[in-house]
Every structure is written in C-alpha cells, then in structure tokens.
Symmetry: C2
Subunit: 294 residues, 2 copies
C-alpha cells in the first residue's frame, strides 16, 4: 500500500521533471548537465514530502506539482555544488560519476546555478499564471527561498566546510544539519501545506513534524556512512571518518544515535496522530526514512 | 546635472544595499564574503538603469528600490562565479582581489549561490508585503529570473567558457554577449518599467533601447581591454587576447568597433526621443556607458 502510493507520487513527479527539462535550446551541454544530475537516481524525498503534505491537508497533486519540482531542482543544485572539488570533492554520487566528473568543473558550477535559478523561474511563472493560487504560491516560495539561502542551506554548507578536521560542539553540529538538510526538508513540508490551503496552526504542526524527520534523515545518513552497504549506497562508506568530519556518531556514539532515530521517528508519528488515518502515508514515509538502506 | 542625478540614485541604492546586507547571523564569513563583492566598487549600472526607467515612466524610486537591489545582488553573484579558478580564473576585479582570493574557493562559490538566492528572497518578500504592487513585482521578477537563468546569463557564460581559444562566428559572439551581459541589462530596464506601471508597448520600446545599450556596453568592454588605462580599469588590459577570446575587436577590428559604439548609442538615443525631455537622463546614461573609461 505505502510503496504503491510512494511510487504513484514519484512517477508523477518524475514525469513533470522530465517535461520541465525537455529543453532543446543552446547551449545543449548546459541542459544535458542539468538533466544528468536531476535524473541520477534521487529518491525524490522532498517532492514526495511536499505533495503528500499538500494532499494530507486537502490539496491536490496537480496544484502542488510545480512547487514540488522547483524544490527538487534546488536540491539537485545543492548536491552538484556540494560535490565540487573546492567543496567535498566527491567523484561518485548514487553510484554515478558526479556532475563535474562528467561535464567539467565550470559547467557543473553553471548547471548548479541554472538549476537554482530555474526553481525560482518555475515558481514565479506559476504565480503569474494562477491569480487564485498566487498567495499560496508566494507563501510557499518564501519558505523555499529562505530555506535555500544564506540563513538556510548555504549557512549549513559553510559550517560543514569550516568544520572539516575540527571537533565541533554538539550545538554546532545541530546548527549545521538543521540548516544544511533540515531547512529544505521543512520547506518541502510547509510549502506543501500552504499549497493545500492549510492555516498557520496546521503549518506549524507540520513544521514540527518536519523538524523531527529532518533530524532522523541526517542521523540515519551518518549511521549509513558507518554501517551501510556500499553497493546499495552507491558510494564508499567511512568518508566522514576519512574527512575528519564531526557526525552524530562521533558526538553520541552508534548506540545512542540509533536510539535517537527511533525516538525522533516516534515523535514525528505522534504529531501526525492529529490528522487521524489521513496521516498514515506520512507516518510510513517517516518510518521509511528511518529504515532506509540508501 | 547628469552626474548629480546619477550620484543621487547611486547613493540611495548603496544605502539600501547596505541595509539589506546588514546581517549579523552565523556564519559571519559568508555574510562578509557577500558584502565584500557587493561593495567592491561596482558602478551600480543595472540598479541605476532600473530606477531611472521606473522614474521615466512615472514610478517612484521607493517602489522600485528592492527590485533594483535584487538585480545588483544577482549581478554580483555572476561576477564572483565568473572569476572562479574553474571559470575565468581572475585574481583582480576593479583593482581588488577577487572573492575566492580573499575567502577561498568554497566560500566564494557559496557566497555567489547565496547572493543569487537572496535576490529572489527579497523579491518574494516584497511581493508578499505589497498586495497592490504584487503583480508588477511578479512581472519584474519574471524578467529578472529569465534573464539570469539557463536561457539567459548562464547560457552566455557557458558559451564564453566553451569558446576559449576558439574562433567563433559573429553569430555566436553576439549570442554570447546578448545573454551574458545583455539579458540582465535588459531586465533591469524592463523590470524598472513594470514597477513604474508601464504598459506592454512602452516596455517593448524600452527593451529595444536596452538591447542597444547592452551591445554598447559589451563592445566598449572589448575596446577597453585593448585601449583602456589599467589604473582606471583596476585590471590588466589585453586579457581577452591572452585568453584567446573572440571579441568584437577580433571580429570587426578597432575602427569598426568604435563606429558601432557610436551608431548604437545614437539608435538608443533615438528611441528615447519618444519620451521627450524626460528621456534625457537615460540618454546621458547611454552616452556615459559609451564613453566610460572603466
């Protein structure tokens, strides 16, 4: 049931992402590079969160789809830039060569820039074309823009870069992850809620849920880097340790990190009790994030 | 008269840029890097075009100011990324070390990302806060977003990168400059016009004007790289030749390039005749762009 529902959303999102990147303009290498990373095997977690939160509060997938796709483009840009030689210098992501390995560093930087920009192009065009939805689209866009900006994702990435080969405090570790991965996950949820017409109280409830699953996602990421299966992950494990990175494992140990995943997933589930059986899909999604193997 | 009017606008824009970047959040190095390049001696050409076009069609500087500043942030991001080692690998801009020379490559990439994103954050917040201006803000934002994206500025930069040490056709040279510098200059003009409440006919007239001055700007840039004064320019001349770049000079020669600057400036002036004496400031600005020494 959950897997079918998940696939339904992923397929619709994938179709729309393909349409949005079906561009034959010059220079073709730029659009090739944008497509390459967008279709490099991502789980579509953020668009799925966005769509299913919208449906939870009574909205339709049709209305939220451009917003969900814009988030995925912005997420993809962040991965391309994170992998660059000047940043994490990663050769592989999800078992495939990273963007700069295929297209060169200059095109990878520009493809990232273009994807970030394209996210906003889509959102603005959508707001202009739909006066009735315009206010919800703008509220959603604000959530996304703040999450991806200098006080959000970029701040987290800066702290990540500055922290290499340093012991950082638990507060700094949490600041880093809250912004680097948490903020865009939260924006996926809150923008989905706004697109479904949710009131501020409901949006705030769902933001709490998003805070928990954002942490679950990150702790799980750190656990997989120690315990994961390289084949399933599509990259080498142990890279955090090799890069001298502070993680939830170095801060809390393996046992406590696993407990935290379980405790936070439970708390995320409890918030969704408010929505009755309608919350089941998101509960399952939270559990799926806690149990994932890649 | 012209210089006083120019300074009036530049000062107001500078004040607003300072306010918008007066941010003491963590991580401070990120905001330092964003401020460094924003206040590295730019001429504020794009915000001045935006503000003065808005005033030309009857709008106020107060209404257009956030839009003008957003454009300057997006322009600044493009300079930071253009200068990166993987791109043009420039050590100096306007006589000062480039962003990555001061802050390192990773922070420079991220400061650029953050400035692009911040441009949109400002525009979206402005649209949300001003329901009466919302439609004009969205139309302006669309102009800007399309100009800075994969079919605009980024496309031009990709062609620039791909063209190093190659002879490119005049069509490709024009495609490159139309997008790399022309599109954002045009968006500065058209967004200013929309913020002043101009109708589509007027916007289209002003876009023609912008096409001419965009070309003037670029040909003049190429001329200065051959004939300019290194002290005034704040960088070494001859870099296009050394980098094997195709320019208007290599395509048309010095004499014809100078003639083109004059002819195009004249055409830009003619379009403004439509606006009577109100067009004088923009006429003077076009002439100033044609005659500038840096």
């Amino acid at each position: 049931m959950f897997k079918e529902e998940l696939n339904r959303i992923v397929n619709i999102v994938d179709e729309e992402l393909k349409k949005l990147l079906d561009i034959s303009d010059k220079p073709s290498i730029l659009f090739d590079a944008m497509r390459y990373s967008t279709f490099a095997g991502g789980k579509r977690l953020r668009p799925v969160l966005c769509v299913s939160t919208c449906e939870l509060v009574g909205g339709s997938i049709k209305d939220v789809l451009p917003v969900a796709c814009a988030i995925e483009f912005i997420h993809t840009y962040s991965l391309i830039h994170d992998d660059l030689p000047a940043m994490d210098n990663d050769d592989l992501r999800r078992g495939k060569p990273t963007n700069h390995k295929v297209f060169g560093e200059a095109i990878a930087i520009l493809a990232g820039d273009a994807l970030l920009n394209y996210g906003f192009e889509i959102l603005i065009q959508y707001a202009l074309d739909n006066p009735k939805l315009c206010n919800n689209i703008l509220k959603s866009t604000k959530e996304i823009a703040n999450a991806s900006g200098a006080r959000g994702m970029v701040a987290g990435q800066v702290i990540d870069i500055l922290s290499e080969n340093k012991n950082i405090s638990i507060e700094e570790l949490e600041f880093m992850h809250k912004h680097k991965t948490g903020d865009l996950i939260k924006a996926a949820v809150s923008s989905g809620a706004y697109m479904g017409g949710a009131d501020e109280d409901t949006v705030n409830k769902l933001k709490c849920f998003a805070d928990y699953i954002g942490l679950v996602f990150q702790i799980k990421d750190d656990l997989l880097d120690v315990l994961g299966d390289e084949k399933k992950l599509g990259k080498k494990t142990g890279s955090d340790l090799n890069n001298g990175k502070s993680t939830f494992i170095t801060a809390f140990g393996l046992k406590r990190s696993k407990e935290m995943v379980n405790e936070l997933t439970l708390k995320a589930n409890e918030i969704l009790d408010f929505f009755g059986t309608k919350g089941n899909f998101l509960k399952n999604l939270a559990n799926y994030m806690a149990e994932r193997a890649n």
